[in-house]
């Protein structure tokens, strides 16, 4: 904190004008504001997805229920899956990454601030387009996995599937653009001395995820394009009666879909790897092993897609290969878990809400990992796949794992982002309520699944013996909703009345804690010089650095060197700070792309009108791009630095 005050005092205000009010948000190119926009919009979508889940749980609470019609139920689980994955978890991770990565590597912004703004707008518009479908004939009702040929016009005549394709397409473009941004930012914008092997593990995981994303998403994009052409332009990629191949869709989908799981979980593993050391007051145990096991998981993630297809009949050899590759993933995952345990071992554990969530992550993720082992075994898989056992497994990984990890991150970084502390008491209530109700909701699903309850059914018979499990799940889900309301209440009250957050409330080790809370618009008055994995920690506790006999910089040289000139002298040469100008260009381009998307959906049915809409969209895009080029020229010599 002291550091931040010292350095902040030495700089004149940056040469950037932030527009006031709404305009400031609509035209922003600041990674912090964009990060907050990601988090807020993703959380709204997340709540909507949660409501969809509640409706399903109410329907399944008792046998032979008639609360939802089958078609509405099918829309609900399609939208729940799509929303949680594409509009909830992914952008929550992106939001935390967007806000924290530049701060953690000592950069003033992302590498491409305008592209960053484009990503957030495309994501928001993609999500909105998906939800427009509810008002124009019904939401998609074919499952988030959209297996062919159920998605063909013959079986799914409403425009729901088209909105799904375009909505996913827009968020996909947003994700790829975001991933490119992360790759370049992390590889290229690191502060001097921040070598790859000194990067915070959260940054490592974001880098791995960005690489997974740029290689996995195009495959889904091609699949959805082919589906769109099947539905509207007479092709037959997935039409078996004309020679098309229903299984090809599954290959394309899961070649994306399995890496997607790691896209969702790796960033939260990164969060855990920040939170656990901070609240254990120790460095992460086995930094390199945690980092490179992430790389291994990312790589193996591309070799296991067909374990979602063991019942498809690919043959024993293929199944054996994909089963073996899936088993292998247990190894780097186990390494991570043991390293986290070792990080806590002999530490001084400060059980904040964030830490509780990190521990909750480990405890629940272990269950999800174990249930994954039986699913990776092809013979057992064919009993368990498409049953509620998978629903249980997947929620232990993505809820017990990813969501708890995200909460660990939110409770950890909320003070940094808002300058206010979240209420710890409420937070702990939320944690315990969530842990209990989460298990109440999802643990019984292991049992109902193994007792023969298939997934995606809107009703079941009483005599099947699943009544108790389903009732418990439903009760659990209602309690979960209360836990989320507690969180919402906590955020809304803390943001106004929470206690003021200091720069470094948790005695952190990484660079984001070296600046004020919230950070100044330019992040760092002076670019920090990084000399170890824990730059701020070593600045605060130089003697500890020496004690453990580390190979890095001798303690004497560490003191006060995080920021040149922090020892009272003026920095050698005060660099001018340049930040990207605010601009509406990315917003305009996104609007154009969205209109183009609407045109594509209706091109097959209303040729002329749709084509004119597409033309309008293109014109708006062109206008946006022109203004983009102009502003980027004005800014060009001054990319955030």
């Amino acid at each position: 904190m002291a550091i931040a005050e010292r350095t902040a005092g030495t700089v004149s205000p940056p040469s950037v004008s932030v527009r006031p009010g709404w305009a400031g948000w609509l035209s922003t190119t600041d990674h912090k504001r964009i990060g907050i926009m990601y988090l807020v919009s993703a959380f709204v979508f997340f709540l909507i997805g949660g409501i969809e889940a509640l409706l399903m749980r109410i329907q399944l609470g008792v046998p032979d229920n008639t609360f939802l019609t089958p078609d509405v139920y099918n829309q609900m689980f399609t939208m729940h899956g799509t929303t949680m994955i594409f509009l909830g978890l992914m952008p929550l991770n992106v939001g935390l990454g967007n806000y924290m990565v530049p701060l953690m590597i000592g950069a003033r912004d992302m590498a491409f601030p305008r592209l960053n703004a484009l990503s957030i707008w495309l994501f928001i518009f993609g999500g909105l387009m998906l939800y427009v479908s509810f008002f124009v004939g019904g939401a998609p009702n074919v499952g988030w996995f959209a297996y062919a040929p159920l998605t063909q016009k013959q079986f799914a005549p409403t425009a729901g599937v088209d909105y799904w394709i375009i909505g996913i397409g827009l968020t996909g473009v947003a994700s790829i653009a975001g991933a490119l941004n992360f790759i370049v930012t992390i590889l290229n914008m690191r502060a001097p001395g921040m070598t790859l092997n000194r990067m915070p593990l959260f940054v490592w995981m974001q880098l791995i995820v960005a690489f997974i994303l740029i290689f996995a998403f195009p495959v889904l994009t091609v699949g959805t394009i082919q589906l769109l052409f099947d539905r509207h332009f007479g092709t037959r990629f997935f039409l078996p009666n004309l020679g098309g191949d229903a299984v090809l869709w599954q290959h394309l989908f899961w070649f994306f879909g399995h890496p997607e799981v790691y896209i969702l979980i790796l960033p939260t593993m990164g969060i855990i790897s920040e939170v656990l050391p901070t609240f254990s007051r120790k460095p992460i145990f086995g930094y390199a092993f945690v980092a490179y096991s992430g790389v291994a998981i990312g790589f193996l993630g591309f070799l296991v897609w067909a374990h979602h297809m063991f019942a498809v009949g690919l043959g024993p050899l293929a199944n054996a290969f994909f089963g073996a590759a899936s088993f292998l993933i247990a190894v780097p995952t186990g390494v991570k878990i043991f390293n986290w345990l070792a990080t806590m071992w002999q530490g001084s554990l400060h059980l904040t809400t964030s830490m509780l969530y990190a521990i909750g992550f480990i405890s629940m993720f272990v269950i999800g990992g174990i249930s994954g082992i039986t699913l990776a075994s092809p013979p057992i898989n064919v009993q368990q796949t498409d049953s509620y056992y998978v629903v249980a497994h997947m929620h232990y990984v993505l809820f017990g794992g990813a969501i708890q990890g995200i909460f660990a991150g939110i409770f950890y970084w909320f003070p940094k982002m808002t300058g206010r502390m979240l209420n710890e008491r409420l937070g702990k209530w939320q944690f315990w309520l969530m842990l209990v109700s989460f298990n109440l909701t999802f643990f019984p699903m292991h049992l109902s699944g193994n007792e023969g309850m298939p997934r995606r059914i809107y009703t079941y018979e009483s005599e099947m013996g699943w009544n108790l499990w389903n009732l418990l799940s439903t009760i659990g889900s209602l309690l979960l909703a209360v836990a989320f309301l507690l969180f919402l209440w906590n955020v809304l009250t803390s943001i106004r009345r929470g206690s003021i957050a200091p720069a470094d409330p948790w005695d952190g080790a990484t660079l984001e804690w070296s600046v004020s809370s919230p950070p100044p618009v330019y992040n760092f008055a002076v670019t920090p010089r990084v000399r170890s994995r824990r730059p701020l920690w070593d600045e605060k506790y130089p003697h500890l650095h020496e004690v453990n006999g580390s190979h890095e910089t001798p303690a004497a040289r560490l003191r006060g060197l995080l920021y040149d000139g922090a020892e009272g002298e003026m920095p050698m040469a005060m660099e001018p700070i340049h930040l990207p100008s605010p601009t509406y260009a990315p917003l305009i381009v996104s609007v154009g792309i969205m209109i183009l998307g609407f045109g594509i959906i209706y091109l097959g049915d209303f040729g002329v009108i749709a084509a004119s809409a597409m033309l309008v969209g293109l014109l708006i895009m062109a206008t946006g791009i022109l203004s983009w080029v102009r502003i980027s020229h004005v800014d060009s010599p001054y990319q955030a630095h």
Partner: protein, 370 residues
């Protein structure tokens, strides 16, 4: 922080509860329970699950135990507690816990591949049954057992002999379905444009619940069937009867307060204006529709509308009047809406139809429900 032990107590009580539920569940014999196998395929899977389950339990106990111990032992007891030693890692330990999970998964992999190989065996003498998925019902054909090259065709009830391997040839007419008899065998997809095979042997006679396990559209939840495993002699008796067309319908049946006449019912059924034969077939008559289930010997079905209603003349009457409500989305009621039925079939005609369909019976001694 002194509230913590209480939390842990709560925690462990909760875990105990979960553990007990597992035990209870494993002992139950619900109709779909995979822990209660009656077929060789399902049994081998179950027997593979047991050792893996124990290993998983071991991993669970070790990891969660270490975690809980660490929280209890190393939690900060006072603000300003001494700074712990700054340990960065230990390569030997890392190697150890890289190898340990590797060994566990290796063992699991070996066990897995053994079971996989056993379950993939398809004996030559297996009885071939073709199962075809339709939105939203299952069709079964016995290509090797028909008369004059015509297979025996039925729907929703799959009869198999006990103790003899059965190879189900899986196909689909429209979208992807998934053939699942939890107590007999694991799932296999029915994919349009592709043929899959699944071999299993029923070890005991019984009526086994089965479902479509892959989401296949609006009425996916209501796409069920029964596997009826009877001893070989009974199976042969069944197939012999199925090969012979039903004899001329005769007899009366009281349905819904009206007396239906089976012979009159047949005439209505075969009347093209009443639309039945556009989709349905009955052997030995002019009814040769291919779109809906074959209704030969319908009176011996276990269920109506693909496993959703127990078979009875009264339920059949309900089905004919109220199909959209009983099974939303079903093809028949999309064409023959309740309004259409009201306009084209009198109550008496419906009673006659029910009497006709109910009159076609085969005689089989049914095994117990499993």
């Amino acid at each position: 922080m002194n509230t913590l032990p209480r939390s842990f107590l709560r925690w462990s009580r909760f875990l105990l509860l979960i553990g007990m539920s597992v035990v209870i569940a494993a002992c139950g014999n619900n109709p779909g329970n995979t822990y209660d196998p009656y077929g060789d395929n399902a049994r081998r899977i179950y027997e593979l699950l047991i050792p893996i389950w124990w290993m998983a339990l071991g991993v669970f106990v070790v990891v969660e135990g270490l975690l809980i111990y660490a929280i209890w032992r190393f939690r900060r007891r006072a603000v300003g507690a001494a700074m712990p030693a700054q340990v960065h890692g230990n390569t030997q330990v890392e190697i150890l816990w890289t190898i340990a999970p590797a060994i566990i998964v290796l063992v699991i992999a070996v066990l897995t591949f053994r079971t996989q190989a056993e379950n993939a065996v398809m004996p030559d003498d297996a009885l071939r049954i073709k199962a075809i998925g339709h939105q939203w019902w299952f069709e079964f054909q016995y290509p090797d057992l028909g008369a004059e090259g015509k297979p025996v065709v039925t729907a929703s009830d799959m009869y198999i002999p006990v103790g003899r391997p059965v190879t189900v040839v899986l196909e689909s007419q429209d979208v992807i379905h998934n053939f699942w008899v939890p107590k007999l065998a694991g799932k296999t997809y029915m994919i349009p444009g592709k043929t899959n095979f699944l071999t299993f042997t029923a070890e005991q006679p019984g009526i086994y619940r089965a479902v479509c396990a892959e989401f296949c559209g609006e009425a996916h939840a209501l796409m069920r069937f029964r596997v009826i495993a009877v001893d070989e002699a009974e199976f042969n008796r069944w197939i012999e009867q199925k090969k012979t067309p039903p004899s001329a319908p005769a007899g009366m049946l009281t349905v819904n307060g009206l007396t239906g006449d089976a012979a009159r019912g047949q005439a209505i059924f075969l009347d093209a204006r009443k639309q039945c034969i556009a989709c349905h077939a009955v052997e030995g008559t002019n009814a040769r529709g291919q779109i809906g289930p074959n209704l030969t010997y319908y009176g011996s079905r276990q269920t109506i509308a693909a496993g959703i209603l127990p078979y009875s003349p009264d339920n059949l009457d309900r089905w004919l009047r109220d199909a959209p409500k009983l099974k939303p989305g079903n093809l028949m009621s999309r064409v023959l809406t309740p309004q259409w039925i009201k306009a084209n079939l009198s109550d008496q005609e419906i009673a006659d139809l029910v009497a006709y369909l109910d009159s076609m019976k085969v005689s089989v001694t049914l095994p117990p429900e499993r």
